[in-house]
Symmetry: C2
Subunit: 221 residues, 2 copies
């Protein structure tokens, strides 16, 4: 496969200073390629009406950490996307693709087209434990609003519901914690299954994402 | 074992209203007993100079969720315990015992007396992966300040260091996320080992903690 090492272009041509910059750029290009090679297009999360910007930022950082490529945000019923702190969100949002939807129906339709099963997490009787889930399958995991949880619509349209086991008095985890614990369990299962050792993206996609991540002028919404 | 059901005291004696309150109290007493029965005295965490109150509150909630009984806070070098939001912290701090120390040395001395191994988490070469750790052993897991990580003293005095695997660009998880992912891996391992099916506390301790949790007048620092 052709490597896009345009950053080497000035190597050994100009001053030491420029060479140093080029080396750093080459290192960065190499890191981007390594990261893209481990991205998991078959694992995604949906945040429905999550309003706390700290939570959203923390979730995005965790998604980057486990190799999630796309995050879906659904804001409806008057709830809008929160204003994220520039510093922490900018560094996180650069490395995942965020998709916004106005309704659960639209979001789930897209996820179905991608062949993903959809699981919500809500306190209900027909739940399975996180640790009993098969998280190596193509899957979307839905987390709801801090106070109201996931909507009835999401519950009804999903394939199932799971619970993070708890043995405490409070029975309420922070939303970014709940999401991170879940996707780290997916990470653990997928590591064991060797899914981080083989590219999960097509060759053309790999190159496309390497180019997008390398593009410092890329804007993100 | 003698059960402390003092909350039943007025049952069937007075009005329906009082009976309802008693039933709720009885349910609560029952829940407290169940929760205490699953507490894990051989698993603890240490937060060193963690200053963000949101992080501290989220960590306490996660500790309650996985059955941690004691949390150790070490504040030194001018850093002080953060002011926690009354609402979220009060509900969380009621169900775990928080211990404050002025130095890593004092804290680790106590943990050694309890027979615990001590592991820090810091970006260093001699690290093992979280998922390779044996978290069923008596163990204390140390998490450092948001910006500076764990101190040199903690690193030097610990038995080892572990890393939460990451395959992203940022290489920096939120501290409450890092802590929660770690203790949930401990939870998973301990569930498999059957450690939530058998009391981990002595009978006298069980009763003592049930009494303490049932005492609404208990103050916590």
């Amino acid at each position: 496969m052709k490597r896009r090492l345009f950053l080497y272009i000035n190597m050994n041509k100009h001053s030491k200073e420029i060479s140093l910059i080029d080396c750093r750029s080459a290192e960065r290009a190499d890191k981007i390629k390594k990261v893209v090679n481990k991205r998991q297009p078959t694992l995604t999360i949906v945040l429905e009406n999550v309003h706390d910007p700290h939570n959203v930022s923390a979730v995005i950082r965790s998604c980057d950490a486990v190799g999630i490529l796309d995050i879906h945000f659904v804001y409806h019923s008057g709830q809008s996307f929160p204003v994220l702190a520039e510093k922490s969100s900018a560094s996180a949002r650069k490395w995942v693709f965020t998709h916004r939807h106005d309704s659960i129906e639209d979001c789930f339709k897209l996820l179905r087209q991608q062949g993903k099963s959809i699981f919500t997490t809500a306190m209900s009787v027909d739940s399975i434990s996180l640790f009993e889930m098969n998280l190596t399958q193509p899957i979307a995991l839905v987390f709801g609003n801090e106070h109201n949880g996931v909507s009835e619509t999401a519950l009804q349209l999903a394939d199932g519901n799971f619970l993070i086991p708890q043995v405490g008095m409070i029975q309420s985890l922070n939303i970014s914690v709940a999401c991170s614990v879940t996707i780290y369990e997916a990470f653990r299962q997928r590591m064991i299954a060797g899914m981080y050792n083989e590219n999960q993206l097509k060759d053309t996609e790999l190159q496309q994402y390497v180019n997008m991540f390398s593009d410092n002028s890329r804007t993100y919404k």
